[in-house]
Symmetry: C2
Subunit: 351 residues, 2 copies
């Protein structure tokens, strides 16, 4: 025997490639094509770096308070972390502790089963229907927790709040996590349900609609009790997860609601235009309410198109997995980038 | 029953206070009294914030490479995280997975038992001797892992590398973590043993000697295999823990070895001077090789002195715990701050 026999062995999540070559059209990790609000650069460039010698505010109060005001909540209803992955991982560790299986869709964010495996949490995948929609009845059985991405990834399909409310109401013994990473692009948020259901946790991120993937900020919203448990676990892992710079930059982003709304509107307008163009080229698209489209060509296999795009230095995402191997996920870039993609696909599909 | 019955309940670590009032002498969290290297501010103030829209480099290569070069290691022998607490928490989760008890001293960094409790890892505290020294024989028994802070906190006492080498060599079935948060202030590092022992993990931080507590950067060094396991677990929690700004700022700090050495030398010189002054005032101090002193007065109870200092807005650290309730931990501030502390104590002890 040696020490390696005692190591926790895991199969890590595989993120989309971050190609280091130049002149790439990168539509594979759902990043925003526009920069963060101008106030973010001002906050970072004006940061008093002498302050770095001290530990940051463990409560990240400035950022928590900005988010609480933005969402009409109290500070004690908001938890922040190092990207929504950090927030979700900590939520799995905190709330899915019963030994009963956690439920989530068969096609969804592929980090859920990785976290469950890491922490030894049993889980059962619930199959989406043929239109990639949740069947709410699947979530009315005994469980140790529920996590639903809404809008879902990589399908982009959104469930109305009322559908999720039934699931939340039916499960008072479980925490129900609604992962709203993409909600700003056209989903219906469950935040208004927080006052009504104390078993609801809503998670959002700065990585998509706030153009701050590189800053690593995510957050959870819920009643004070659920947020308190999450803070206890966070304070049992790392007293200070948010750097002083992240706190300042995040608060600056939240301060500029106009820029935020404009950025989201631009991405949504491009998405709708591109959807129309793709359909003209023989693609079927889901009704994606996200900053990406989920598209399948009527005749050409997704893998072939994916590889053709890649040869052209256009990176999109393709999974060789059951049920979605005919589909590609295409992040929405600038109008210029998307025009190049459409032009290339037009030529390619004519051949 | 309700969802609260299924929550992981923990007793969080309690960090030193971060007082929000002005005009405080803050000697309670071992922060450096000097700012980070000038290049750090330059890196932050010159950061291209348009880049934030993209995810950062998941490998934090720029920072990892700078650290590897600094320590004479390869990039694959270095792991970075959000402060050494993040690195240590992840190491507990990764390596202490056998079900056998993990060993650490009875008086040491009080996060070790918090992490063990959080992840359900059994542990046994090994009593330090009356001089707060490790008895190496205590670590020659069956165990599921070992973690030793060297120099230790809050005692400041350091063990020579040779003493630790015996422990590392005697435990090929366990990962031995040496937590070197304070090593730059006069301890003997175990980094040179990395090539010899593949069960050794050495953890260091930017929070003390690099004046960057507010930036949240810690790192681990070990052989490629042990670092690989750690990266697998990290990539099962959060693909991107280090923000683009942290990576740039951290690399800038490592680039300025002269500033680093000068800062450490100033802190050490102040520490030695203050130790002499405290001894003149009737204190006993350990041979602390850290950026703090551990001091006990021959006649006045530590709690009384702690409270008198606090009334004067001088924050030090005191624990009402067995064996150390006669002691205070005093971080080393600027010479001016320490002169005010000494002057106050001189007056106070005369009364």
């Amino acid at each position: 025997m040696n020490w390696e026999d005692n190591v926790r062995k895991v199969v890590p999540y595989v993120a989309g490639e971050q190609p280091k070559e130049q002149d790439v059209i990168k539509l594979n990790t759902n990043e925003c094509p526009y920069p963060p609000a101008p106030g973010v650069a001002a906050a970072i460039h004006g940061f008093d770096c002498d302050k770095l010698r001290k530990y940051p505010d463990t409560d990240a109060s400035l950022l928590v308070h900005a988010l609480a005001r933005r969402h009409g909540l109290s500070d004690r209803q908001v938890f922040v972390g190092v990207g929504s992955d950090d927030v979700l991982a900590m939520s799995f560790l905190t709330f899915f502790h019963s030994g009963k299986p956690v439920l989530f869709p068969d096609i969804t964010y592929s980090f859920y089963d990785v976290w469950a495996d890491l922490y030894g949490i049993p889980y059962q995948r619930q199959p989406l229907d043929d239109n990639f929609c949740i069947r709410k009845e699947d979530y009315f059985r005994e469980n140790g927790g529920i996590v639903i991405a809404n809008p879902n990834a990589p399908t982009g399909v959104a469930v109305p709040q009322s559908g999720l409310e039934e699931i939340i109401r039916a499960n008072p013994d479980s925490v129900v996590i609604i992962d709203e990473a993409y909600v700003d692009f056209g989903g219906e948020s469950c935040v208004p349900l927080i006052e009504k259901y104390d078993n609801l946790l809503v998670v959002q991120t700065f990585s998509k609609s706030r153009s701050m993937a590189g800053m690593r900020i995510g957050y959870a919203m819920g009643n004070e009790k659920i947020i308190g448990y999450l803070n206890d676990v966070k304070n049992s892992v790392n007293s200070y997860t948010m750097s002083g710079v992240s706190i300042a930059a995040g608060a600056a982003s939240v301060a500029d609601e106009t820029y935020f709304q404009d950025t989201v509107a631009k991405v949504v307008a491009t998405r709708e235009r591109v959807r129309g163009e793709l359909e003209k080229l023989g693609f079927v698209c889901t009704d994606a309410r996200t900053n990406f489209l989920f598209a399948s060509h009527r005749t050409i296999p997704a893998r072939e198109i994916f590889e053709a795009l890649r040869a052209e230095k256009i990176y999109v995402r393709f999974w060789d997995k059951p049920r979605i191997s005919d589909w590609m996920r295409i992040s929405i870039g600038t109008d210029e980038e998307m025009d190049r993609v459409i032009a290339f696909l037009g030529d390619y599909l004519k051949k």
